[in-house]
């Protein structure tokens, strides 16, 4: 494709990014830089010099870094078992892994703390209020990112190379180190950078589990903006966040680009095999990881079934109501329907933009300048994950409030904002796979007279359909679970499920709390059901091409 075509393809996503991320952030940061209308750079620099800011930055980087490492280490065995081995119930487990990803942080925070308080089942570990608890929760939330991104790449990997290495006398570890891991590296780096961004910008988890003792850049921005109204300090921190994130993204992009290589594709459709005895260790590790993921979820389910001093489905029946004392404006079931509609819209939008971006940034132009331009572009579309949701949320209020773009009270903002959050996940799932397609295959097809569409259908699509479905599922899950930006933008009369869960949790009354737990369980189950359906769907659709 010619540069001009690429620019044309990238135009729509760029405009969307500019309007719905860059403009709001610029609006808020601008206010911080010019509190009284005059530019005051010195004031912002003064904030960056505070010792507290350095402490906060350091905690953010190391906690998110450790959580990322933990997520990758826990996620790889799970990805192997769920995407390379064939056994009954695999689809269900794949769907289950995604459940934590959509759970509202407020509720999971409660579940974690119920386990960790001194009298709880894990009380003996004395983890309540420690950084370990925060990091464990981050791993819990983000495991799905590693499992699904790496898993969908792994699933398409030809097994014969590994078998050849083994036949030549390589031990299983050597095969893993010299053949498998190098092939997976782009996917791992992709997933790790997404996980890092999610961890570094999470504030619900840090506040709930750290009991205010630990501050990250994101929690500071949240408190400075919503409580202290210190826009100058918030702007300084937002800027710091963007710089750190941009540097990280650039480094990750370099690592990926240098490792990416065309891969041999599995000749047969299914590269999985039955488990063997030597898989025992990895299966055991996977079992342990899944059990740890299940523990907080189980706590939630149990507490949602506890009505007063008896067990029952009372809290689930209450979901058809507006809660004790009319806590909500609409019944929880209506919020679920809203969530569903919004998620469909957001997923379509995220996939449209995501495919465009992925197609553009996965090209390998010969000229250096073009390559560089693409890698910048690649990083730019990751930014929505690395920018504070609070800054974007308030930014919408102060920048999109007048014609021609008076969108402040428009219902389309919610799916748009969610799509911007899902976009990086879609791109990161698709790009490693698109890049691994041997370009000569495309050239060969084209020189044999295939039209570009035909090339895409016959060369790219067979490789990409799996990740495409994975990305669609991801986007849907992101949208169902998104709270940060949605809480700022959702219309009061059409709240999404996470928004009403938050409202229920913050109101007195056992019924409201029970409903919040029940609603979270429903949210998780709906996600699992959708993902399980997607897993089935993907098997049926392959034959069409």
């Amino acid at each position: 494709m010619r540069p001009r075509t690429l620019v044309a393809l990238a135009a729509l996503p760029l405009v969307a990014l500019g309007l719905f991320v860059v403009l709001p952030v610029a609006g808020m940061v601008g206010r911080g830089f010019a509190p009284d209308g005059d530019l005051d750079v010195a004031g912002v620099l003064e904030v960056l010099g505070r010792p507290r800011v350095h402490r906060v930055l350091w905690f953010t980087v190391w906690s998110a870094g450790l959580a990322t490492i933990g997520t990758v280490l826990a996620g790889l065995p799970v990805a192997f078992v769920l995407y390379r081995l064939r056994f009954r119930g695999r689809e269900l487990l794949r769907a289950f892994v995604l459940m934590p990803f959509v759970m509202p942080t407020v509720v999971v925070g409660v579940a974690f703390r119920t386990l960790l308080v001194p009298s709880g089942p894990l009380g003996a570990l004395q983890l309540d209020g420690t950084p370990t608890a925060i990091i464990a929760a981050m791993v819990f939330f983000n495991l799905a990112v590693v499992v699904r991104t790496v898993g969908s790449l792994w699933a398409g990997l030809d097994r014969r190379r590994e078998e050849a290495a083994a036949a030549l006398g390589a031990s299983p570890l050597q095969v893993l180190r010299t053949v498998t891991l190098p092939a997976l590296t782009p996917g791992i780096v992709s997933a790790a950078s997404v996980v890092f961004l999610f961890c570094a910008t999470s504030f619900g988890v840090v506040l709930t589990l750290g009991g205010l003792r630990y501050a990250t850049v994101e929690t500071e921005i949240y408190l400075l903006t919503t409580q202290l109204l210190d826009l100058q300090a918030a702007a300084a921190l937002s800027l710091l966040q963007i710089v750190v994130v941009a540097a990280l993204l650039y480094a990750a992009q370099r690592t990926r680009a240098s490792r990416e290589q065309p891969l041999d594709r599995a000749a047969e459709r299914d590269a999985t095999r039955r488990p063997r005895r030597r898989d025992l260790v990895v299966v055991a590790v996977t079992g342990l990881v899944l059990a740890l993921v299940a523990a907080p979820l189980l706590t939630l389910v149990l507490r949602s079934l506890r009505v007063g001093s008896t067990w029952g489905l009372g809290h689930y029946r209450d979901l058809f109501t507006t809660g004790e004392g009319g806590a909500l404006l609409v019944p929880v079931t209506t919020a679920l329907a809203n969530s569903w509609r919004v998620a469909v819209d957001a997923t379509l939008l995220a996939m449209l933009l995501g495919v465009l971006v992925a197609v553009v940034v996965s090209r390998r132009p010969k000229a250096r300048a073009e390559r560089r331009a693409l890698s910048v572009l690649d990083s730019v579309f990751m930014l929505p994950l690395g920018v504070s949701a609070v800054t974007i949320g308030f930014g919408f209020l102060v920048t999109l409030d007048r014609p021609p773009l008076d969108l402040r009270s428009s219902p389309v903002l919610v799916p748009i904002a969610q799509a911007m959050v899902a976009l990086p996940l879609v791109v990161r799932t698709l790009v490693p796979v698109l890049r691994s397609v041997e370009p000569r295959q495309r050239q060969a097809a084209a020189s044999l007279g295939a039209s570009p569409v035909r090339v895409a259908l016959t060369v790219d699509l067979p490789v990409v359909w799996r990740p495409l479905l994975a990305a669609t599922g991801f986007a849907f899950a992101v949208s169902l679970g998104e709270f940060g930006a949605t809480s700022f933008l959702s219309r009061p009369d059409r709240p999404t499920l996470p928004v009403v869960i938050y409202q229920l949790v913050s109101r007195p009354g056992e019924t409201n709390f029970g409903m919040a737990l029940a609603a979270s369980v429903v949210l998780g189950l709906v996600t699992v059901a959708v993902m399980a359906a997607v897993e089935r769907l993907r098997l049926g659709s392959v034959g069409a091409f």
């Binding site: 494709m1 010619r2 075509t5 729509l12 206010r31 407020v106 925070g109 409660v110 703390r113 308080v117 001194p118 009298s119 209020g129 506040l207 709930t208 009991g211 205010l212 903006t225 919503t226 409580q227 202290l228 109204l229 507490r303 506890r306 007063g308 001093s309 004392g325 009319g326 806590a327 909500l328 809203n338 509609r341 469909v344 819209d345 379509l348 939008l349 449209l352 308030f394 209020l397 102060v398 409030d401 402040r408 009270s409 428009s410 219902p411 919610v414 799916p415 039209s451 569409v453 219309r491 009061p492 059409r494 938050y502 409202q503 949790v505 913050s506 109101r507 007195p508 709390f513 029970g514």
Partner: protein, 362 residues
């Protein structure tokens, strides 16, 4: 090559159009929230920016529509602090016609930043004046609607079972007999938490950091939000926590009446309370100032005032308004709550919060 590019882009354009059409079809959309207008073209909708705790029965709101012809549309915006800050940030193009839920801890900020216009209902209930803001400019812009006391609550069942006398005062909480028994939401992340900090400021003056140091030395637990403290750590909160003393509201005890029983299992310590008064005010630049004024008037009437306890767990400023039975019995009001002048709060809040963070986080 040109033909080829055309071929590449055509299907994309097409799919783009299809996607956009699909988006529009199943969307959120369809329903634009248009403002209802009356025959004279004047808008008939009153947009009210509130905090997330807003709740009001449909019956009462229908009564307002029947009386005045206006319909209320509610815009929840986080807690009292977030609400106020949003109003400040959107000054000039306000997100609503009026605000409800700005409390005495944020009133001065809202007034100082000039987001409100002067309006005070002509016939306020007689008892409302005792909740009015002390500053006359502020009192002209913010009308008191309701109040609630933030108090330390104790689990009486736990104390009876362990044969320990429950604490009574703020000083008691630093007593070693209650070591590791108290949990409170943090002042920097929760509005009841901030109210408790202000209670200690009112009680101990400049020496409040010393009190907090003692509190922390007595193994007080700080959580990020009220629900976390009450539902996870409080022994009577349903989570089966470990701490029988929690910071909550004077109105919390009636919620702990067990099924079939007639008495709550918890009580509020009335000597530890900080009073939060919530106000309504007309926003500067409101699209429908007349409607907003009508609703502020309505909020002071009996039907609205009497619906407050059941819907928002707060006490009406009108002392003649009838309370629900459980409330009349078990939700006591502090006889002498702690207070800090709103102007002092506005001036010192940031300093206090920074100092508080230093003392509590170490």
């Amino acid at each position: 090559m040109h033909a080829r590019r055309a071929l590449t882009t055509a299907p994309l354009t097409l799919s783009l159009a299809v996607c956009l059409a699909a988006t529009a079809a199943c969307s959120v959309g369809g329903g634009t929230t248009e403002q209802a207008t009356g025959p004279d073209g004047a808008t008939k909708t009153v947009v009210v920016a509130t905090h997330d705790s807003w709740a009001m029965s449909k019956k009462v709101l229908r009564q307002f529509t029947a009386e005045t012809g206006y319909t209320v549309k509610v815009e929840p915006n986080g807690d009292a602090g977030q609400l106020t800050n949003k109003l400040v940030l959107t000054q000039g193009s306000p997100i609503a016609d009026m605000a409800y839920g700005i409390d005495n801890t944020f009133a001065s900020r809202a007034v100082d930043e000039g987001v409100l216009a002067d309006y005070s209902p002509a016939d306020l209930p007689a008892s409302a004046s005792s909740y009015a803001l002390p500053d006359t400019v502020e009192a002209q812009q913010l009308t008191p609607v309701d109040y609630g006391d933030v108090c330390v609550n104790v689990d009486d069942t736990w104390f009876a079972k362990h044969g320990v006398t429950p604490p009574k005062t703020l000083d008691d909480l630093t007593n070693p007999a209650y070591k590791g028994l108290f949990v409170t939401p943090g002042a920097s992340s929760s509005s009841p938490g901030l109210a408790f900090l202000l209670a200690t400021v009112a009680k101990y003056g400049d020496a409040w950091p010393t009190y907090w140091k003692k509190l922390m030395a007595n193994d007080t637990l700080i959580t990020s939000g009220w629900s976390d403290a009450y539902e996870v750590d409080f022994t009577a909160g349903g989570g089966g926590g470990d701490r029988p003393i929690v910071l909550s509201y004077a109105s919390s005890p009636p919620f702990t009446i067990p099924k079939g029983a007639s008495r709550p299992t918890t009580s509020a310590l009335l000597d530890t309370c900080f009073r939060q008064v919530e106000y309504a005010g007309l926003l500067k630049g409101a699209k429908n100032p007349k409607g907003a004024q009508a609703f502020i008037d309505f909020m002071e009437q009996k039907s609205f005032q009497e619906a407050l306890p059941d819907n928002m767990y707060v006490f009406p400023v009108d002392q003649d308004a009838a309370l629900p039975t459980d409330w009349a019995k078990f939700a006591k009001v502090a006889p002498k709550p702690f207070t800090v002048p709103p102007a002092d709060i506005a001036k010192n809040r940031d300093t206090w919060l920074r100092e508080w963070s230093d003392v509590t986080t170490r």
